[in-house]
Symmetry: C2
Subunit: 150 residues, 2 copies
């Protein structure tokens, strides 16, 4: 990754970078209303899924398996939602989308972790989730728990 | 595909099957509020993305490229949303999810086709879209237009 691109990615507010695979970066998303929600972004700049190369899809498949398995062990979610939307970028005057996946664990039950309670209020639907931003300390504890199981 | 499984898929209300690749089936989704919205379902039964095989990811990548390119030529959407959710299946007493992708073209502009007007009211967001069910005849015209460009 070129240094200049690092900075570009930082401005996208994907969250806290905590892991990388050959082609993908894994961030803990800023909104943790569903504990363990991540953003998985392509390392190189590319604006639509049509532009992904075969080896990037293969590595993505491995990443899916790895992060789902880790989350399952860490917080026992019921299922996982995956979405590549890139909607908000098109609200800019000059859209410059960058491929990233929203990885949202969904929970039938409440989760208690680090003294906080996480509740998936709209389990079973895509109703917009409330925003829950948590402390740097809590984010680091969640990242630790995910990495323990990666 | 075993015959019994065909029937199972039919009950899932994915829409009108109109195309298949090596591992995936493409349906025109029942809700056409965004014209060209499709469901792409795995042929074999598998309940989570972690279970996908390398060759299924590779074929999925090709399918993404093919259907995005076809839609672009057919109706000129601004961008595409992709999501694998499987939420509603978990509202059943005995969940039996089946991998399927929601492929939702998003439009900055209105589209007129076959005497109907299609408007993406919440362009730029994931606000739930209104439901627009159209006639069998209109669905077949849309399928024809997509297949012309596949």
């Amino acid at each position: 990754m070129e240094r200049s691109y690092d900075d570009k990615l930082k401005n996208r507010n994907f969250g806290d970078l905590f892991y990388e695979t050959q082609y993908w970066l894994i961030f803990l998303a800023p909104n943790q209303s569903n504990i363990g929600t991540c953003v998985i972004a392509l390392k190189r700049h590319c604006g639509s899924l049509s532009g992904l190369k075969e080896e990037e899809w293969i590595d993505f498949g491995k990443t899916v398996k790895q992060i789902e398995s880790s989350l399952k062990k860490a917080f026992n979610p019921t299922l996982f939602n995956w979405g590549a939307l890139m909607n908000t970028d098109y609200m800019n005057e000059k859209p410059d989308p960058h491929i990233h996946w929203h990885f949202i664990p969904r929970y039938r039950q409440k989760v208690e972790f680090g003294g906080l309670i996480f509740e998936d209020l709209y389990f079973g639907s895509m109703h917009p989730r409330p925003v829950l931003e948590i402390s740097e300390n809590a984010r680091q504890m969640i990242i630790g728990k995910i990495k323990e199981n990666l």
